[in-house]
Amino acid sequence: MSETTLIKPSNQVTSTQTRGYRPQVDVYETEDQFVVVADVPGASEEDIDLAIEKDVLTLHAKVAEPHFEGYETRWRGYGVGDWKRSFRLTEAVDRDGVDAAVKDGVLRVTLPKGKESLKKSIPVKRLD
């Protein structure tokens, strides 16, 4: 069966983003939704700003460097700072149905597919 999606890629890249770390993400698609799973360790729900503006989904999770009284950094294996990443949405997403939750530093965003992109069987009539 031929597969054609209603989703179009975009090669546009904006350079307005300020410095931040890029979280590792999984993005998968089920029959009726897209799911974005992002690792944002150090951030809880009040630190996460998730916004859709025009066709761009932007994730910004604020993370502050921990401070331990009487201790100073001796070894830095990873950098600590805000997580930032953007995705271009498509016509196929129902923006009003987008939902997000975070647990143990893992953000899960569900984006239901718009009605127009759900599979629909078209009955074929016979013309005599």
Binding site: S2, E3, T4, T5, I7, K8, P9, S10, N11, Q12, V13, T14, S15, Q17, R19, G20, Y21, R22, Q24, V25, D26, V27, Y28, E29, T30, F34, V35, V36, V37, D39, V40, P41, G42, A43, S44, P66, F68, G70, Y71, E72, T73, R74, W75, R76, G77, Y78, G79, V80, K84, R85, S86, F87, R88, L89, T90, A92, K103, D104, G105, V106
Partner: protein, 142 residues
């Protein structure tokens, strides 16, 4: 003719790759294993050290921190069940299990070792045993 086209809807706009900087030269006896693949940050003080690691989605019950003299071993597992019958567009998240040992430049007081797991970050406090702490010597005048 039938055409088959697959677009990636999750066109990434931009973003900075995670940079890992190591102050290797400033760290006397932290073994280089600590840097990869799970990165740790280490904060040092008079009482001992605090070690942090970003381990998002781990099962808090799975963590096991064991201490033997100056050796510390940290174990843990990610709690997520594999997802089947979906079409992946991006699959970057990889770490599912952690087992890391490292050596500290002092004998650790196992009794006082504390570990907390919050917001996907594991924080382990490792204190020196009493006799390993620097003693304060009072200089008396004649």
């Amino acid at each position: 003719m039938r055409s088959q086209m697959t677009w990636n809807p999750w066109q990434e706009l931009d973003g900075f790759r995670r940079e890992v900087s190591s102050l290797l030269n400033a760290a006397p006896r932290w073994t280089s294993e600590m840097a990869q693949p799970t990165a740790f940050n280490v904060y040092a003080g008079h009482e001992g050290v605090v070690v942090t690691a970003e381990l998002p989605g781990f099962d808090p019950e799975s963590f096991d921190v064991s201490v033997q003299k100056d050796q510390v071993t940290i174990r843990g597992k990610r709690s997520e069940a594999p997802i089947e019958n979906v079409r992946y567009h991006l699959r970057e998240r990889g770490l599912v299990e952690l087992e890391k040992s490292f050596q500290l430049p002092f004998i650790v007081d196992a009794e006082k070792t504390e570990a907390t797991y919050e917001r996907g970050v594991l924080t382990v406090r490792l204190q020196k045993v009493e006799e390993a702490k620097p003693a304060k010597v009072t200089v008396r005048t004649a």
